[in-house]
C-alpha cells in the first residue's frame, strides 16, 4: 500500500515536471463545518502537517459552516472557481447532505483530488440495554421496526445511511427505520449514554473512549474485517451484509487548470507520505484511505449512486414521525404573529388617539428621520463598498456617515477617527486574529 502510494507520488511528480505551475506559497483549506466539527478537525490537522513537513510555506483554514456542508460547497464552487490555491474538505456526509437538502450544487461540479481518511461506524446500545448481541437487535427490529429508535448524526448523514442499509440487509423496509437525527456527535452520544434511544450509531473515534470505559456496549462495527485493537465483531461476521465507512476527501474548485490541479495533487501526495501525517492519523484513529486520480473519481461516482439509492428508500426527508405536528407548528407561529400584531396595532392606535385627544404636541417629526436616514445611508454605503473597495474603505465611510448623523460639527475629527478605527480593526482582526476581512483595493498596502 505504501509502495503504491510512493509510486503514485513519484509518477505525479514526474509527469507534472514538464508543465508545472509555480510552487504554492500559501494553501487555503476550507472546512465546510463549524470549528470543532469533523471536517474542521481534519483541515486543521492537515494544516499542521503541511507546515510542519514544510510542504507549503503557510496555510490557513476557513470555516463555512451550515447545512452539513452544502453551504460551503455552494460557496466553494461559485466563489472559488478557477483558484488553484484552495481546497475544500468533503466526504460521504456531503454526498448525503446534497441529496437530503436538495442542494443545487453537487459534488460533480468540483474537481476531485483525493480520498484521505476513513472512519468506521459502530453500532452501540446503552449498557443497560436488553440487547446483548446484534442477533437480539435484529430479532427485535424484525418483529417491530418502529419500536427501535436509532440515534445518530444529522439527517442524510453516514449514521442514517448505515441505519437504512442495515434495515435493507435484514429484510426491513428502510422507510420503517425510526431514525432520530441529532446535530453533531455530542448530542447523539449523550442520548445513547442516557438510554434515550434504543440504538446508537456513531464514528469509532467518538465511541472508542466510551466503549473502553464500558458505558456503552458495541454490537457491531461497519468494516469488512475486524479492526486491530477493537474487540467488536463486524456486521458481515454476524450475517448482516453491510460495509460502510465515513470517508473524507479533498476537492479543488471547478475550472482549475491541469497544471494547478497537478500541483495540488502533488501537495496532497507529499502530505500523505510524510511521517507527521501518519502520526496524526494514529492520534485521531483515522484509517489511511489515500486514493487519488481517476480511481478516486470512480469511487466517488459509485458512492454517490449508493447514497442516492438508500436515501431515496429511506424516504430522505420523510421519517416515521414527520406526518404529525410538522406543519402545525409553523402554522401556529404564523397565526400568532398575525394575531398579536393585530392586537398590538390596536393598542397603539388607541393610545395614539388618547394622546391626541389630550392635546400632546408633536415634536419636530422630520428631524428624527434625518438622523436615522443618515445611518441607514451609512449602512448602504458599507454594503456597497465592502466587497468592491475592501473593509477599510467601507468601514471608514460607515463610521464617518454615522458620526455625521449624531454631530455634524467636527467632520475632520470624525474622518480621522474613522480611518484610524477602520485600519485598527483590520489589523487586529484580519492580521492578528486571522479573521479574513476583504482587503479590497488597499490589499497592497495592508
Amino acid at each position: 500500500m505504501r509502495t503504491v502510494r510512493l509510486l503514485l507520488a513519484a509518477l505525479i511528480l514526474a509527469s507534472s515536471s514538464s508543465a508545472a505551475a509555480e510552487p504554492l506559497q500559501h494553501l487555503r483549506l476550507i472546512a465546510p463545518a463549524a470549528p470543532g466539527g469533523g471536517w474542521d478537525q481534519t483541515a486543521r490537522a492537515m494544516q499542521a502537517v503541511l507546515q510542519a513537513a514544510g510542504i507549503v510555506h503557510t496555510s490557513s483554514v476557513e470555516n463555512i459552516p451550515g447545512a452539513a456542508g452544502t453551504i460551503g460547497l455552494a460557496r466553494f464552487s461559485s466563489g472559488e472557481r478557477g483558484n488553484g490555491d484552495v481546497v475544500m474538505l468533503s466526504g460521504l456526509i456531503m454526498l448525503g447532505a446534497v441529496v437530503t437538502h436538495q442542494s443545487p450544487v453537487t459534488l460533480r461540479e468540483v474537481t476531485p483530488l483525493a480520498r484521505l481518511t476513513g472512519e468506521f461506524e459502530v453500532i452501540v446500545v446503552p449498557s443497560a440495554s436488553p440487547f446483548r448481541s446484534l442477533a437480539d437487535l435484529v430479532t427485535a427490529f424484525r418483529a417491530n421496526p418502529e419500536s427501535i429508535s436509532w440515534g445518530g448524526g444529522s439527517a442524510g448523514g453516514t449514521d442514517q445511511i448505515l441505519a437504512g442499509l442495515f434495515a435493507d440487509a435484514v429484510g426491513v423496509a428502510p422507510s420503517r427505520v425510526n431514525y432520530i437525527a441529532y446535530s453533531g456527535g455530542g448530542e447523539s452520544l449523550s442520548a445513547i449514554l442516557g438510554g434515550q434511544v434504543s440504538v446508537g450509531i456513531n464514528g469509532l473515534a467518538e465511541l472508542a473512549p466510551q466503549i473502553d470505559a464500558g458505558t456503552v456496549r458495541a454490537l457491531a462495527v461497519s468494516s469488512g474485517i475486524r479492526l486491530p485493537g477493537l474487540d467488536v465483531p463486524t456486521l458481515r461476521e454476524q450475517g448482516v451484509d453491510v460495509e460502510i465507512e465515513n470517508w473524507r476527501s479533498v476537492v479543488a474548485p471547478p475550472g482549475v487548470s491541469a497544471a494547478e490541479r497537478e500541483r495540488l495533487e502533488q501537495i496532497i501526495a507529499a502530505m500523505v507520505a510524510s511521517s507527521q501525517w501518519r502520526e496524526t492519523m494514529a492520534k485521531y484513529r483515522w484509517s489511511d484511505r489515500y486514493l487519488a486520480g481517476p480511481a478516486f473519481a470512480r469511487f466517488m461516482a459509485t458512492e454517490e449512486a449508493r447514497v442516492q439509492g438508500i436515501l431515496a428508500r429511506l424516504g430522505s426527508g420523510e421519517t416515521a414521525s414527520s406526518s404529525g405536528p410538522v406543519g402545525r407548528y409553523p402554522l401556529f407561529v404564523l397565526v400568532g404573529v398575525v394575531v398579536s400584531a393585530a392586537f398590538s396595532a390596536g393598542g397603539m392606535i388607541r393610545s395614539r388617539a388618547r394622546a391626541a385627544r389630550m392635546g400632546a404636541a408633536e415634536h419636530g417629526a422630520g428631524a428624527g428621520w434625518r438622523g436615522a436616514a443618515l445611518v441607514a445611508t451609512a449602512a448602504g454605503v458599507d454594503l456597497l463598498l465592502l466587497d468592491r473597495a475592501g473593509f477599510v474603505i467601507a468601514s471608514t465611510a460607515l463610521f464617518w456617515v454615522t458620526a455625521r448623523a449624531f454631530d455634524d460639527a467636527h467632520p475632520v475629527r470624525d474622518a480621522v477617527c474613522a480611518a484610524a478605527m477602520s485600519v485598527g480593526a483590520y489589523v487586529v482582526f484580519a492580521r492578528l486574529l486571522q479573521l479574513s476581512l476583504p482587503a479590497g483595493v488597499l490589499a497592497g498596502w495592508l
Binding site: 429508535s149 442520548a191 398590538s344 390596536g346 428631524a367 478605527m421 486574529l433 476581512l437
Partner: protein
C-alpha cells in the same frame, strides 16, 4: 473527598508556576477583550488560536483556553451595560437593567457588581465542578427530549417578566422571534423551510445577527432618530464611584442565587447561556421587594444574571471533562483541542490524565481571581467610555458590529441581514415593542419544536411521555405554576385589600 483535595492541591502546585501563570494571564486578557467585541466569541477565538498553540505543551495551552473561556463571560457585560449592545447571548439580559443603571450615572456600580458576581459564581461553580462533576453528569444524562422540551417551556415563562407595559406587544415580539426561528433546515427531516432558495438561509438566521442587529445596530439607529427629535441629552455621568452599601446588600443574594441557577442549567446542553440568565432574572424579579424597579435599573437584575452566566460556563465543563460530551460551541472546540494533543476526554480522562484535568481546574480558580483583579479597577475606567462623543462611539459600534456579522460566515448577506434587522430593531424601539422576547423566541422556538418532535418520535406518537416521565412532568408543573402564581397572588391581594 480527601483524595480529591490532594489531587486539587497537586493541580494548584502545577498551575502556580510562572510560565503557567503567564499563560493564564494571557488567556484571561484575551478572553475579556473577545467578550467585549460583538460577535467574536470564545469558540471562534480558541479555534483561531489552535494553530498557534501547536507547539505548546497541553497544560499551558489549556490554561490559556480556560482563561479565554472564563474571560469572555466577564467581558460580555461591559458593552451590555455601557452601550446597550450585548456582545454575547450571555449578556443580553444584563443589558436590560445594566444599561439603565449606566444612564442613571451608575455605570461603575453596574460593572462592579457584574465583576464581583462573576467572580463569586465562577469560584463557587468551579468548586462544585471539582466535587460534584461525576454525579451531576449522570443526572444530566437522564434528561431526554421530553425533559428538554419541558425545560424550554420553563424558559418561555420567563418572557412573562419581559412583556413590559403592553402584553400584546411583548407577545408579538416573541412570535416574531419564533417566526424567524422557522427559517432553515428542519433538524429531524433535513427539509428546508422558508429559505426561499437562498443557500445562506439554509442554516437559519444566526442568533448573533439578531442580537447584534437588534441591539447594537438598532440602538444606533434609534439614538440617531432621537438625536433630532427631542433635546434630552445623556445624563452627565460623573459618578464613577463603585457600589454603595445598599448595592452590596442588594447584590449578594442574587450572586448566590444566580450561581445556584446557572450551574445546573449550564450542565444541560439547552439554549446556551440565555436560559440560565433569563431564569435568574425572573427569579430575582419575583423575589424582589421592589419589582417595579426592574427594567429601570435594579441592581439585582445585573447581579443575578451575571452570576448565572459565569456559573453556566463552568457547568458546561462538567459533561466535557467527565464524559467527553461538548454541550456548547466553545466546548466543542475545546474537545478538538484535547484531541489535538492526543487526549480523549471521556469517562477515563480523570483517571488517565489527572495531572492535566486538575491543573486545568486549578487554573480556572486562578483565572477567576485574575479576572476579578483585572476588572475591578477597570470598571470606573470603562465607565468613562460613556463620555466619548456619541458620534465616535456609535461609529465604532457599527464598524465592530459589521466585523462581528461578517466574521460569522464571511458573507456579505449576513452584513446586509444585520442592517435589516437593525432597522427592525429601531422600529421596535420606536413602537415600544420589547426586544428580548424576540431573541428568546429565536433561540427557544426551534429548540422546543425539535425536542417535542424528537420525544414523540422516540415514543412513537405517545403524548403521555411528557407527563409520565417524572423530571419532565415536574418541570412542566413548574412552568405552569410560574405562569399562574402571579395571577392567583394578585387576586388574593385584591381580595385582602377589599
Amino acid at each position: 473527598m480527601p483524595e480529591t483535595l490532594s489531587l486539587l492541591a497537586e493541580g494548584f502546585a502545577s498551575a502556580l508556576t510562572w510560565p503557567h501563570l503567564a499563560w493564564a494571564l494571557a488567556g484571561v486578557t484575551l478572553g475579556t477583550a473577545v467578550g467585549v467585541l460583538p460577535g467574536i466569541g470564545p469558540a471562534l477565538t480558541v479555534a483561531l488560536l489552535l494553530p498557534v498553540t501547536f507547539s505548546l505543551d497541553p497544560v499551558s495551552a489549556f490554561i490559556m483556553f480556560g482563561g479565554i473561556y472564563y474571560g469572555a463571560m466577564y467581558g460580555g457585560s461591559t458593552t451590555s451595560i455601557l452601550i446597550n449592545s450585548p456582545g454575547e447571548t450571555a449578556s443580553i439580559v444584563t443589558a436590560i437593567d445594566g444599561h439603565m443603571m449606566a444612564r442613571q450615572g451608575r455605570a461603575s456600580a453596574a460593572l462592579t457588581t457584574a465583576a464581583i458576581g462573576s467572580f463569586v459564581a465562577g469560584t463557587v461553580a468551579t468548586v462544585a465542578l471539582t466535587f460534584t462533576a461525576p454525579v451531576l453528569a449522570s443526572v444530566a444524562l437522564r434528561f431526554g427530549p421530553a425533559e428538554y422540551f419541558a425545560l424550554t417551556m420553563v424558559a418561555f415563562t420567563t418572557v412573562s417578566v419581559l412583556l413590559g407595559a403592553s402584553v400584546a406587544r411583548g407577545v408579538f415580539s416573541l412570535f416574531l422571534g419564533l417566526a424567524l426561528g422557522l427559517v432553515g433546515i428542519d433538524q429531524l427531516t433535513g427539509n428546508a423551510r422558508f429559505s426561499f432558495g437562498i443557500p445562506q438561509l439554509l442554516d437559519g438566521i444566526d442568533v448573533m445577527i439578531l442580537v447584534i442587529g437588534l441591539f447594537a445596530v438598532g440602538e444606533t439607529l434609534y439614538q440617531a432618530w432621537r438625536q433630532g427629535r427631542d433635546e434630552e441629552h445623556v445624563i452627565a455621568l460623573h459618578d464613577f464611584t463603585g457600589m454603595s452599601r445598599q448595592d452590596w446588600r442588594r447584590s449578594w443574594k442574587p450572586w448566590l442565587r444566580g450561581t445556584a441557577i446557572g450551574f445546573p442549567l449550564g450542565v444541560l446542553p439547552c439554549g446556551g447561556s440565555v436560559i440560565p440568565t433569563m431564569v435568574s432574572y425572573m427569579v430575582e424579579r419575583r423575589l424582589s421587594a421592589r419589582p417595579e424597579e426592574f427594567g429601570h435599573g435594579a441592581i439585582e437584575g445585573v447581579a443575578g444574571p451575571e452570576a448565572a452566566n459565569n456559573a453556566a460556563a463552568a457547568g458546561v465543563l462538567v459533561p466535557l471533562l467527565t464524559l467527553g460530551l461538548p454541550s456548547s460551541a466553545t466546548a466543542a472546540v475545546l474537545l478538538t483541542a484535547f484531541q489535538q494533543y492526543g487526549l480523549q476526554p471521556g469517562p477515563l480522562l480523570f483517571s488517565t490524565r489527572p495531572d492535566l484535568v486538575w491543573t486545568l481546574i486549578a487554573s480556572l480558580y486562578i483565572g477567576n481571581a485574575m479576572l476579578l483583579v483585572l476588572n475591578l479597577p477597570l470598571a470606573p475606567l470603562w465607565a468613562r467610555v460613556m463620555l466619548v462623543p456619541r458620534a465616535l462611539l456609535f461609529g465604532s459600534i457599527l464598524v465592530l458590529a459589521s466585523v462581528g456579522a461578517y466574521s460569522l460566515n464571511r458573507s456579505l448577506l449576513d452584513v446586509a441581514l444585520l442592517y435589516v434587522v437593525g432597522g427592525i430593531g429601531c422600529g421596535m424601539r420606536i413602537l415600544d415593542i420589547p426586544l428580548v422576547p424576540a431573541v428568546l423566541g429565536l433561540i427557544l422556538g426551534p429548540l422546543a419544536e425539535q425536542q417535542f418532535r424528537r420525544a414523540l418520535a422516540i415514543s412513537q406518537g405517545d403524548y403521555s411521555v411528557f407527563v409520565t416521565r417524572p423530571i419532565a412532568a415536574s418541570l412542566l408543573l413548574c412552568a405552569a405554576l410560574v405562569l399562574v402564581a402571579p395571577l392567583v397572588f394578585r387576586r388574593g391581594q385584591g381580595a385582602a385589600a377589599s
